[in-house]
């Protein structure tokens, strides 16, 4: 691989070719929507999916909050559209093995069904989703509580069997209770899931549904309406504060004791309610996808304190990462519902389109320079650069290897300059200007930084 | 002076051996040695003298063994590889034999980090297995490690240690086999509290036929308190005290925990007698020597018989 070395520090804009191809990683609802939107924009798109089918987490649900269609219908339709679009290539049982190369031309090695595919991409969109973790059982032994996903599976079976028969009645029995604890940032998604399913059970004949929740987060669009509908159709909702509901296994079911805060406040009593239910439903915890650490290392991006991509750093625009040409959409960034994910995917598709539509990438040349004669090739810069903008190359002038700044990836943050133990890396701009610039009403030169 | 180790005679005669342990004083007070030894004298077949255990400086093992000989007690001299190179080890071994010491227990030795001179330079010129091999060669081939001929070879009864519960567990028996192959005739184990796990280990020992090639003495250390039990469990590598034992000590109460500890030791010894391939016990009553006679008696192992004291010099029987 040849490297154009720019020794001038004129801050000019360098021209780089750009691959027009886009790689989408993950075949869940975010990845599908992304691929479709990109195809509409006439981008050459490759979608890799680790499994053998598309749809991800949403595909496993039996209904979607905010949608008339079932997930099956919604995703089925989208997948069918994808199939007919020649601009989209889908690789199943695929995994991204290596990402190398320059901004605009990321060279990616993909392994799919045992075969290796290698291509250059102008952009990579990560849409690997979140994962659902079932909580630990509330009571030991039988009966056990079930997760929302399990309930959805049972509801789907019921629907398929037209809701008749003994086994069906057993799978979703008469008295069903949901317990939803406050889950911080995930609470909107949890509330939507619980309300949606509570309503679905309530709509079955002769069912009693209780929903005990800490905080009904109705922040999402339409959630308030969903909440009202659930209440109106007969779902009994209790709201607890600090005291968690006590759950105990009882004769063919559970006894749930919950302290309703508003009852306690209004009626000046302890507000304790005893419920008996045949089935207890607890929502799963939403956790970062299992491939997050792998991709983090491979793509050299950061994760936030809760191990999701992108979240919480104000400098990272919602889906565009610190690495030019690498984007993150959907559940891999945190818990979002399907409505939000679809909107986000469409918006990001436009951003990706704009990015790969450029003929040239603006690169300021020579801001950071390595002196190959001083470089000890200790790899410190390579390891500490947050933007993966350092590579080790052969330098003909010194006849050996040296660190080299990949200017298109470099953000001129100066971290490598500070880390280099050989003082082999210099911020050209900093020495001349930046570090000498003092602001305090007027700008003036602080001589001593430059001297010595 | 007998040419053959008294301990070896007991073991070779097929008797269930009992050995004790004596930690030399951190000073030159010989009375400490005599007092401790007096407790052990009638209760055990031989007394093991530690060699600066846990790397804390004490009276030398070789000198303490010589004092025991004066008291007509059979000593087992411990030799660790930490403090002496092959020159000093061989030299001290010859000296020990000259002083009438007939048993030697070869150990790697605790790292000096645990002792009172952590700044010391360690040696570890040989490891325990190489030390066993060296002594065997000196005895059987009358040769130094260098190959030079000895003038008179030390007829030492050679022992080694085994830590059944250290890691890697599967390798422990293989390592024992190496020690036996190198020439270890008796083995003292680390303190045993978990009998189930020890039985598993003994099965592995028997599967390799090691119990027929060497004498295994199970390590017994009576627990004095709940605190000691916890300390052993958490801080001593290779020692596992099952929770139910700790519970037993707790249940006994602070006053009677020591008595309960003695009772546990007695029961453990009795159990040991029933395990195939265990040829004796090594009672390590740390700073509690006065209770050893009682433990041994309650375990039904008193009085100790002196086996074959009139064995003719020169009749050799090495395991």
């Amino acid at each position: 691989m040849g490297h154009a070395r720019n020794r001038e520090s004129d801050g000019t804009i360098k021209k780089t070719s750009m691959s027009r191809r886009v790689l989408v990683v993950g075949g869940g609802v975010a990845g599908i929507e992304m691929a479709l939107a990109l195809a509409e924009l006439r981008c050459d798109t490759t979608l890799v999916e680790q499994g053998t089918s598309l749809g991800g987490n949403a595909g496993a649900l039996c209904s979607l909050y905010g949608f008339e269609q079932t997930p099956e219908e919604l995703i089925g339709k989208k997948v069918a559209t994808m199939r007919t679009n020649p601009g989209i290539r889908v690789l199943f049982e695929a995994a991204v093995r290596d990402v190398k190369g320059d901004v605009g031309n990321l060279h990616v090695r993909i392994e799919a069904c045992g075969k290796v595919h290698e291509s250059d991409f102008g952009a990579i969109v990560v849409a690997t989703g979140f994962d659902l973790a079932t909580g630990s059982p509330v009571t030991s032994g039988e009966p056990t509580a079930i997760s929302c996903s399990e309930l959805e599976r049972r509801l789907a079976q019921l629907r398929a069997g037209n809701g008749r028969g003994r086994s069906n009645a057993l799978s979703v029995p008469r008295n069903v209770c949901f317990v939803v604890e406050d889950s911080g940032v995930d609470s909107a998604v949890h509330a939507a899931s619980a309300l949606k399913n509570a309503l679905a059970v309530q709509k079955l004949p002769k069912r009693n549904v209780f929903l005990c929740c800490q905080n009904v987060n109705v922040a999402g669009e339409g959630l308030e309406a969903l909440y009202r509908e659930a209440r109106a159709s007969g779902v009994v909702i209790f709201k607890f504060d600090g005291d968690k509901p006590q759950v105990a296994a009882a004769d063919r079911g559970f006894n749930v004791t919950v302290r309703d805060a508003s009852v306690a406040a209004n009626d000046r009593c302890n507000g304790l309610m005893d419920l008996h239910c045949d089935l207890l439903v607890l929502p799963e915890r939403i956790v970062p996808g299992p491939h997050t650490p792998y991709l983090q290392k491979l793509l050299r991006v950061d994760v936030d304190s809760s191990d999701y991509f992108q979240q919480n750093n104000v400098w990272l625009r919602p889906t565009a990462s610190n690495r030019k040409g690498i984007f993150f959409v959907g559940g891999c960034r945190g818990s979002f519902d399907v409505c939000d994910i679809l909107t986000e995917a469409r918006a990001t598709a436009l951003e990706v389109y704009t990015w790969i539509g450029r003929d040239e990438i603006p690169v300021s040349v020579g801001k950071v320079r390595v002196d190959p004669a001083k470089c000890a090739v200790c790899l410190t810069c390579l390891r500490s650069c947050p933007h993966d903008a350092v590579e080790i190359v052969f330098d003909g002038d010194i006849g050996g290897k040296t660190a080299h700044i990949v200017e298109s990836a470099c953000h001129a943050c100066g971290i490598c300059v500070a880390e280099c133990p050989a003082k082999a890396i210099q911020m050209v701009a900093a020495d001349d200007l930046q570090k000498g610039m003092a602001i305090k009403g007027e700008r003036r030169q602080v001589e001593q930084w430059v001297q010595n | 002076m007998n040419d053959i180790s008294g301990l070896q005679r007991v073991l070779d005669a097929g008797a269930f051996a009992v050995t004790g342990e004596l930690g030399p004083p951190k000073g030159s007070d010989v009375e400490v040695v005599r007092r401790k030894a007096a407790h052990l004298k009638e209760a055990v077949d031989a007394v093991n003298v530690t060699d600066n255990q846990t790397a804390v400086v004490r009276m030398s093992s070789i000198a303490t063994c010589a004092i025991l000989r004066e008291m007509a007690i059979e000593p087992v001299m411990q030799m660790v590889c930490r403090d002496r190179n092959r020159i000093a080890l061989q030299s001290d071994l010859l000296g020990a034999y000259g002083l009438g010491i007939r048993n030697v227990l070869c150990l790697s030795g605790d790292h000096q980090r645990f002792g009172n001179h952590p700044q010391a330079k360690n040696v570890f010129d040989l490891d325990s297995i190489q030390l066993i091999q060296t002594i065997k060669t000196m005895r059987d081939e009358s040769k130094f490690l260098s190959g030079d001929e000895l003038e008179g070879s030390p007829r030492m009864f050679i022992g080694a240690a085994a830590s059944p519960f250290s890691d890697p567990f599967e390798f422990r028996v293989r390592r024992l086999a190496k020690k036996v192959a190198a020439g270890a005739q008796f083995i003292q184990t680390q303190c045993i509290y978990d009998l189930t796990k020890f039985r598993t280990w003994m099965t592995m020992v028997r599967d390799l036929g090691l119990d027929e090639k060497t004498h295994i003495l199970a390590g017994i250390t009576p627990l004095k308190s709940v605190g000691m039990a916890r300390y052993m469990k958490n801080n001593v590598a290779g020692v596992d005290v099952p929770d139910e034992l700790i519970e037993r000590l707790k249940a006994a109460g602070k006053k009677d925990a020591a008595e309960e500890g003695i009772a546990i030791a007695v029961e453990t010894i009795q159990e040991m007698k029933s395990i195939d391939g265990v040829h004796g016990v090594h009672v390590m009553a740390i700073e509690w020597e006065e209770r050893v006679p009682e433990i041994v008696e309650r375990a039904g192992l008193l009085p100790r018989k002196r086996v074959g004291t009139e064995v003719v010099a020169g009749s050799q029987k090495n395991g």
Partner: protein
């Protein structure tokens, strides 16, 4: 109030510098005696830069970067905090008060916070001066 203390503040151009500008917009006295040096990322400030400031007469050096999790370069603020801690230890070794060098985070819009944190540093250093 004794003689004016000289403080050098290395400020991240994405947060500290902007907050400093905000802090200075109203009144210029607050930060009199404070030299603001704008840097591309707090992570680019080396121990040597800080020592240079001391060599040229600074009484205290502060590094002002982004809040945790909000560094534009992801790890710069964390890296420099480690460096500051280490350097504070070295200063202690030569008999200096380690509090002469400090890191604090602000966001671009927290002019008041910048002023407050800087004032705290100045107060602490005044106390030190008195003790010296």
């Amino acid at each position: 109030m004794g003689t004016e203390l000289k403080i050098v503040a290395f400020c991240c151009e994405h947060s500290g510098s902007l907050a400093a500008r905000m802090a200075c917009a109203g009144e210029s006295e607050t930060s009199a005696g404070t030299e603001i040096v704008s840097v591309p990322c707090s992570g680019s400030v080396q121990a040597a830069d800080i020592l240079k400031a001391f060599r040229s007469g600074a009484d205290g050096v502060v590094i002002v970067g982004c809040h945790d999790g909000s560094c534009k370069h992801l790890v710069g603020n964390r890296r420099v905090q480690r460096r500051v801690e280490h350097l504070a230890g070295t200063l202690k070794e030569i008999g200096w008060n380690p509090e002469r060098v400090a890191f604090f985070p602000v966001s671009a819009v927290e002019g008041q916070l910048f002023r407050d944190r800087l004032a705290e540093v100045v107060d602490r250093l005044r106390g030190l001066e008195a003790g010296r």
